[in-house]
């Protein structure tokens, strides 16, 4: 199971630098999702003027369902430069895979919760790291798409775009860079050195078992 929590409001608002559409996944039974807080933030995003609509749906981690749900909103999807996704890490990555030419940003952090694992497709994966990085990394998870889970860029081991650990796997950081390049978003790699915070995961587990 997992928990999604909203990122800091200012961090989310600062992502909207152009025409945007919000996709909000109300989730599945396996996910705790902060519905009320999210709705408040949706209102604020809409008031900002750049967000054309908030599309609320479920199971966006299933690409077929996602396509179906967005079908009736295609005009808005096409008009948007930015897709801001309220969901677990898998949902954000599924949207990013479906729309390779759009900037896809994450509004939530995904935490693990001990117990039953949600029904999610095998790919893409989310490791529930509690500090979702997808907004900086073109919607590709640096933790699961890179064999070393590197947060700060490509290691020296990539050859011909493939990973040093598994020669049949594309280097995750090569994918991140190429996609950012295509979107004209390479500046998003200029964030300060990132370090994982394992207490966030431990804390989530502890709180969950207390509640």
């Amino acid at each position: 199971m997992l928990i999604t929590e909203l990122k800091q409001k200012d961090d989310v608002l600062s992502l909207i630098k152009g025409k945007a559409l919000v996709i909000s996944c109300i989730g599945c039974k396996e996910v705790y999702f902060p519905v009320t807080e999210a709705e408040e933030l949706h209102k604020e995003l809409l008031a900002g003027g750049n967000v054309s609509a908030v599309i609320t749906t479920d199971y966006i981690c299933n690409p077929e369902n996602l396509k179906l749900q967005l079908k009736k909103h295609m005009d808005k999807v096409e008009a948007a430069e930015i897709l801001l996704v309220f969901s677990c890490g898998v949902g954000v990555q599924t949207v990013a895979e479906l729309y390779p030419n759009k900037a896809v940003f994450a509004a939530c952090d995904t935490y693990p919760l001990p117990g039953h694992q949600g029904i999610t497709p095998l790919e893409p994966e989310c490791d529930q790291c509690a500090e979702c990085h997808l907004s900086d990394t073109a919607g590709i998870c640096p933790i699961t798409a890179c064999s070393k889970g590197l947060l700060n860029g490509q290691c020296g081991g990539s050859k011909n775009g493939m990973c040093e650990v598994d020669k049949d796997m594309e280097c995750g950081w090569e994918r991140i860079y190429r996609r950012l390049e295509k979107l004209g978003l390479l500046d998003s790699l200029l964030y300060p050195a990132k370090i994982r915070n394992y207490i966030a995961i431990a804390g989530a587990g502890a709180n969950a078992s207390e509640s």
Binding site: K148, N152, Q154, G157, E181, A193
Partner: protein
């Protein structure tokens, strides 16, 4: 002595690297350092290189320092979490070892102990950041250090001939932003690519040391082309190695090739980093042929 002081003075810096043995006897390594590396500014000591378990880099640095030679402590993030890494940095400071080369490290499965847990709690960029933070008197946990903080020369690596050189440059930029003060490069066999790389890297305004490997034979070149990231030995060099097997075996061809590359690239870089890979005895010849010593 921190090699950054030499770069600041505009000196052309020479480094080389040695790999500690699988065992705890350093006589042979120290003998080679004394015998052949006298003209070298500082000697890198690798850290479980290629994920092969060996004697520690820090202990070897200390032994090298004790015979009066400057060393560079290589640290990877593969085997230690942030507590152990910071602790080893303080240990280095205690021993007076103040040159660092900070790396992410090869993956565990590439070496001789593939069953091991890959750590990667930090990576090259966050490790550089950690060193910088220690230098300000605070550790990564936000806790104050007792007494004067340590001061290091913070080095990092970059791959100028990588097939994804733009991705490497983006990483280099992050390393510089985190506090990297000098760079050693992966081995260069294509000067043209190095020039192009330096054209782009000069914006970062940090000293870059050209990395070179003395080639032992054509087989080694082919192996590296197929297996080592960021290395591409062009066909004409491979032919040159094949032409006179005796001369190549004696190391003369390898030294000639390397000296040529150094001379071509010298004006584009601030130093040379020689990876002799067991051919330490050829380093004096190489330095002479490259006109780096008289």
């Amino acid at each position: 002595m921190r090699i950054t002081e030499l770069f600041d003075r505009g000196e052309f810096v020479l480094t080389t690297e040695v790999g500690p043995p699988k065992g705890f006897h350093l006589d042979h390594l120290l003998h080679e350092v004394k015998e052949y590396l006298g003209d070298i500014t500082a000697v890198n000591v690798t850290d479980n290189q290629s994920s092969v378990m060996r004697l520690g880099s820090l202990a070897t640095c200390k032994a090298i320092k004790d015979i009066g030679v400057n060393s560079i402590f290589q640290i990877t993030c593969r085997d230690r979490n942030r507590l152990a890494l910071q602790s080893d940095l303080l240990s280095a400071a205690y021993f007076g070892i103040d040159n660092l080369l900070l790396l992410t490290g090869d993956y565990t499965t590439l070496g001789d102990t593939p069953q091991a847990k890959p750590v990667f709690d930090l990576d090259s960029v966050s490790l550089i950041h950690a060193v910088k933070q220690l230098e300000s008197g605070i550790d990564l946990g936000g806790n104050e250090l007792d007494g004067d903080p340590p001061k290091f020369a913070k080095g990092a690596v970059v791959s100028p001939c990588s097939d994804s050189v733009d991705v490497q440059l983006a990483k280099m930029e992050r390393k510089v932003a985190a506090g990297a003060e000098y760079f050693q490069t992966q081995a260069v066999f294509e000067p043209e690519k190095f020039f192009e790389f330096m054209e782009k890297a000069k914006q970062f305004n940090v000293p870059v040391m050209l990395g070179v490997i003395i080639l032992k034979n054509a087989g080694m070149a082919n192996f590296m082309n197929n297996n080592i990231a960021g290395i591409n030995v062009p066909p004409d060099i491979i032919e040159e190695l094949k032409a006179d097997p005796e001369k190549t075996k004696a190391g003369i061809t390898g030294v000639e090739i390397t000296a040529r590359i150094i001379k071509e690239c010298r004006d584009y870089c601030q130093g040379v980093h020689i990876m002799a890979l067991g051919w330490e005895k050829l380093v004096p010849d190489l330095l002479r042929e490259s006109n780096l010593v008289s």
